[in-house]
């Protein structure tokens, strides 16, 4: 019995499994493919048949998506805001986590262990306990400093800072391990050459943890580009909207006029930057998934 199995089963089983694999690939791709071709489908065609392939490529939807709004609320504006937040938060995050990890990993000082434990425990703080009180806290700070409730919360610089600071613990935990593995000989050599602390950090530590910093940057770019709940809570005026909040806010206008093509054109445009990043860095992003497994597990 056993031996029979051994001879006949592998190829048959492999084919059955292959069918499952392709079926799931289809489930993943189909709705996205539907979004893609609906985004180039003329409005009347969509109303007639929502799932039929478009007869012509109707690019006017993209024009509508891109142009059909006031200067305050154009998709271009949302893109600009999001890019700014991504750049600022990634820069701050990289600076903070690399410096902190260097200190935690390489300084011989009793307080450092305590510091590390603090960030480790902080990883467990659930976001649900933080968002709303933070919002009230920053609103009352805004009203006492600038006389306006939304002065601080409705601001893309604040949002960038919040993103950078709140995602610190996980990345610090990941980086400290790598910093520890750096041979102290490199630091000693730099000190011999008369390097100061800043030079050790920029010339010795940073180059050595560059691959992990790339992963941190990629992870943060994707998180921030796609983030919705915090941005929706903080940003009140349309001129500050990020791409997620912006699309959510213009969706009603498009669905009311049955302009699903234009709405989907917005969605397609919104995913292009991240999709390009995924094409370029698929390996690093997926390896980051494995690294993430290490930290969170």
């Amino acid at each position: 019995m056993k031996h029979q199995n051994k001879k006949s089963s592998p190829s048959v089983v492999s084919w059955i499994l292959r069918i499952f694999l392709y079926a799931w690939a289809a489930v993943v791709i189909l709705p996205l493919f539907w979004m893609l071709y609906t985004s180039v489908k003329e409005r009347g065609e969509f109303i007639a048949d929502r799932f039929a392939l478009p007869k012509d490529i109707w690019l006017a939807n993209y024009q509508t998506a891109w142009m059909d709004s006031s200067a305050e609320s154009s998709l271009l504006r949302y893109f600009g805001n999001t890019v700014l937040i991504v750049i600022l938060s990634t820069f701050l995050l990289l600076l903070f986590v690399s410096a902190t990890s260097y200190a935690l990993g390489k300084y011989k000082f009793a307080g450092m262990k305590l510091f590390e434990t603090f960030y480790f425990v902080a990883m467990l703080i659930p976001s649900v306990l933080v968002l709303i009180p933070l919002w009230f806290q920053l609103r009352s700070l805004g009203s006492s400093l600038f006389g306006s409730n939304s002065a601080i919360t409705d601001n893309i610089i604040t949002l960038s800072l919040v993103y950078a600071i709140q995602s610190m613990p996980v990345y610090i935990f990941l980086l400290v391990g790598f910093v520890r593995k750096i041979n102290n000989g490199f630091i000693e050599a730099a000190v011999m050459d008369g390097a100061n602390e800043w030079q050790i950090y920029t010339k010795v530590i940073l180059p050595m943890i560059k691959p992990i910093l790339l992963f941190v940057a990629l992870g943060n770019i994707m998180n921030v580009w796609n983030e919705y709940t915090t941005a929706r809570t903080f940003l009140e005026s349309e001129k500050n909207y990020t791409i997620s909040v912006g699309i959510q806010s213009i969706q009603n206008a498009f669905t009311y006029s049955f302009d699903y093509g234009a709405l989907f054109a917005c969605l397609v445009l919104s995913m292009i930057p991240i999709f390009i990043l995924y094409l370029l860095f698929q390996k690093q992003i997926q390896n980051g998934t494995d690294a993430g497994e290490g930290i969170k597990g």
Binding site: F20, P31, R50, P133, Y228
Partner: protein, 304 residues
């Protein structure tokens, strides 16, 4: 500065010992980040716990009411409805994600599948993980709503009051699983590839066929990762279910979940911020208890 450089060699700890230059580095870069972390994460968290025993609208004066908020939460049927929905969503999401992720990861590593195909699947399966929750929820929302407009026989969604009122839970579970499987497939593939060949060879010598090898070698080896998946989905979902549901249903009461319950009381026109904080604390406690007990139970099972 010069002084400290001279002393450094003699001190215990060599170049890693603290000196003025290192303190300056700490003061300029490490402490500011730490203080900001305290201000933007720890202070709000403490605030929410501390204010959960007050009747407070977020701005005006506070009235201490003890455990009254908590008692009201436990008396509120809407909260229990939210709790029930969360549990249902998480339970089915766990089953679907674990079964599919294990099935796909094992197939991609142990079945006879061409390397190029594996590359294709790795690429496609991970795609939902790079998409925003807004994109995912909108595409599926309009996809299902469009399906619902089809009046022919194969419209399995048919509903009288709209699909999001009649049967929101199965759809939400499906969408959440669709978005979650790929990430865990990648996690599992790496673990399975790290299992040494000798382990399989030993099983092979014992006369185990492919399926038995998967059952007796692969599955036990990936149990810690499966536990990681279960805990990850569990800890992520309870608070995060709302991120998907908010854009899908517009946040109406028919698909209330605990995260949304907190959010609606905290930011809505209800002026019950103290109450929202109490609900957040309850949500956190439920989440912690579930995570720790599942983790404890599974670890014990693994040890057996």
């Amino acid at each position: 500065m010069k002084d400290t450089t001279k002393k450094r060699g003699k001190r215990k700890g060599g170049v890693l010992a603290m000196n003025a230059s290192k303190w300056r580095f700490l003061l300029l870069l490490v402490f500011p980040a730490f203080l900001l972390y305290l201000y933007l994460c720890i202070v709000p968290m403490i605030n929410s716990i501390a204010n959960s025993v007050y009747d407070w609208n977020g701005y005006g004066p506070k009235t201490f009411i003890g455990a009254e908020n908590y008692i009201q939460i436990f008396k509120d049927p809407t909260f229990w409805e939210a709790f029930k929905n969360d549990v249902l969503i998480v339970f089915f999401k766990e089953i679907i994600i674990v079964v599919l992720a294990v099935l796909f990861a094992v197939s991609l590593t142990r079945a006879k599948i061409h390397k190029r195909e594996v590359g294709f699947f790795r690429f496609v399966y991970y795609i939902p993980n790079i998409l925003s929750v807004i994109l995912i929820s909108m595409v599926w929302k309009y996809f299902f709503e469009s399906m619902d407009t089809i009046k022919s026989g194969w419209n399995f969604l048919s509903s009288e009051n709209g699909i999001w009122v009649d049967h929101p839970l199965p759809l939400i579970i499906f969408i959440a699983s669709w978005a979650g499987v790929g990430y865990f497939v990648i996690v599992l593939i790496t673990t399975i590839n790290n299992i040494s060949k000798e382990t399989y060879e030993a099983a092979d010598l014992d006369g185990a066929n492919q399926l038995q090898q998967v059952w007796y070698v692969t599955l036990p080896e990936i149990m810690p990762q499966i536990r990681y998946i279960i805990i990850n989905v569990l800890s992520g979902s309870l608070a995060v279910n709302m991120n998907l549901i908010l854009p899908l249903t517009g946040g109406q009461n028919h698909t209330m979940v605990m995260g949304l319950y907190v959010y609606n009381y905290g930011t809505g026109q209800l002026n019950m911020v103290g109450y929202a904080y109490a609900a957040a604390v309850v949500l956190m406690l439920i989440s912690f208890v579930l995570c720790f007990s599942v983790n404890y139970y599974m670890k014990r099972k693994e040890a057996e």
